[in-house]
Symmetry: C2
Subunit: 384 residues, 2 copies
Amino acid sequence: MTRVGIVGIGHGVFGRRSDASVQELAFEAFREAMEDAGLERGQIDASVIGSVPEYHKQRSLAGVIQEYLGLTPKPTWLTEVACASGSAAMRTAWMAIKAGVHDTVLVMGCQKMTELSTPEILALMGRVGEVQWESGFGTTFPAYYAMFAKRHMHEFGTTRDQLLDVAIKNHYYGAMNPNALFRKEITPEKAKASEDVATPFQVYDCCANADGAACVILANEDKARAISQKPVWLDGMACATASMSVLRRPNLVGLPSAEEAGRQAYQMAGIGPEDIKVADVHDCFTIAEIMAYEDLGFCKKGEGGPFVADRQTYVGGKVAVNVDGGLKAKGHPIGATGLSMTYEIARQLRGEAGERQVPDADVGLTHNVGGIGQYCFVQVMKRD
Amino acid sequence: MTRVGIVGIGHGVFGRRSDASVQELAFEAFREAMEDAGLERGQIDASVIGSVPEYHKQRSLAGVIQEYLGLTPKPTWLTEVACASGSAAMRTAWMAIKAGVHDTVLVMGCQKMTELSTPEILALMGRVGEVQWESGFGTTFPAYYAMFAKRHMHEFGTTRDQLLDVAIKNHYYGAMNPNALFRKEITPEKAKASEDVATPFQVYDCCANADGAACVILANEDKARAISQKPVWLDGMACATASMSVLRRPNLVGLPSAEEAGRQAYQMAGIGPEDIKVADVHDCFTIAEIMAYEDLGFCKKGEGGPFVADRQTYVGGKVAVNVDGGLKAKGHPIGATGLSMTYEIARQLRGEAGERQVPDADVGLTHNVGGIGQYCFVQVMKRD
């Protein structure tokens, strides 16, 4: 089977983008990716859209985007697995190329989160939790992850300060990322003075909804080498699932889907967690990043708090994590997030991350979670 | 690349299924498909869900179905391309197997259309049309297809009776299908006495929303031969797109996406339209089936009306079309429809269609349209 390479990347500005429709957001990222690859529209064989359709007034989004980008009559399809939708799009595009069905595939993650009113958005998001026994009784995303945080603190002594260390790191790097929603550093004092959300979370423990798009172009090995001077290879592409209902999980201090997807992705790529130099992980809440360190084997279970407090996930630490700002500082346009992660790791492996560059970054990883760990997609990426 | 075979099929009863949740509908079809294949859950490597998520109260449907079927922690993803969602699920599952990523993949099409109120459903469906310039001004699905019908009548002399011949045929066969919503024959007199919908359509020109699920299990060639005595091969799997806005189409007497997808599927399978013995096509409105005959090359452009009037699409005619009742008589649970088509053609190629059996059915086809032809997916299926 052919290796699959990334030959073009593009990323728009995340934020409250009342200046642009979802098609226009997609076009921003598309144009940059096409220019980066040096391709013309006719060279794109298919597109895959990662998005959660119900947040948009226009439905059947794949067709809308396909036409707006000028890619009809080529094939397209949309994948939806909640917040991991963009990573599912990546994985089906990768399969299409490995299968020899298409040679060059454009993957677009795009999402408007601000077309609907806040109550409408909250009602929709709640329904990603298990409706019958959990979200039906009022469990929201912050409440789910707050349970994880409380349990992690109870079992392992993880502290309030360690949780906030995640936010402080991600804001520190977000301030250097021109595509981030929040481009400002925060202090522990400021974070602790912010409003309560769900104990132990305050505002700065939580990522924010945003509008945005990011785009990646994939090609088979021969084409990738012909198109790009520095292709980035997708050598491990795994997905695993866990119960919808959090009540049926073995514990509340990690995500079994992340552990399983990580294990499979490492095996597929022939590497281990110690080989990863840079990673983008799903920090929807501060505890989620700490659990990701542990689930992915960057540190042992229970040691995620000290791991971030010791700055092991800063540039120069053991493994740089979310040094683009993460969901926390970039914002979280659901369907776009998986592509934004892929974009960042590709930039790092290409050595183009500027002041945020991780030295000698040759192997990287993305970890994208859907729902409350119902899905996890892990990608291992390598440079030549 | 490996050939991909169908090794198990299952189909629930379509209709107003207030007795079952979407998970339970999925389980009905799953159980039948697993029994048909003689497989245990542990032998399923991944699942793909075809569904339009926004019609359900529970969101993130892939995870819900995966857990309910007992398939966690295996991978899953959901595909959405409006009414063609089930066929996109089929195509990504087929790619996963061709790529060697998974050996055995379950494909589930499932949809509840009656959880939301009729006004809510109509509002959502309207938004599949182009919102800014078309559906925003009141264009609905019946209105779009009525324009196609009027234009077809104007250009080719297609008659009101020929349109109704499609409905009469599909109800004739639907009466023999225990899974169909409408199991009764209709007469021209009855059809002409029914309420007006959008000129020239009356009630019997239109398919009906329904709840339902259908399931297919795919495997690579080696496994397919080991699992099944009579595997059915997916030898042509094509997708093409056309403009979202119908105003930007070259004409209103056919679907360019269907023509293109048909051409590609025939080429991939090494056959032509004259080889197809049995087909399931997307007859959301009577004119849609007539255009499908023409777009797929079963007859020349403009001759679809006489083609059905001459009974060329009955069992015993040139090519049997929708002899399971089609969307018209079976009902149209959006995400399930592509799987229902695949189920029917597999049954025909296996020689198990009973009183509706097409003699010597060795090559069959499915044609599934998303939106108003924004997408078309064509599958060519063969028996050994």
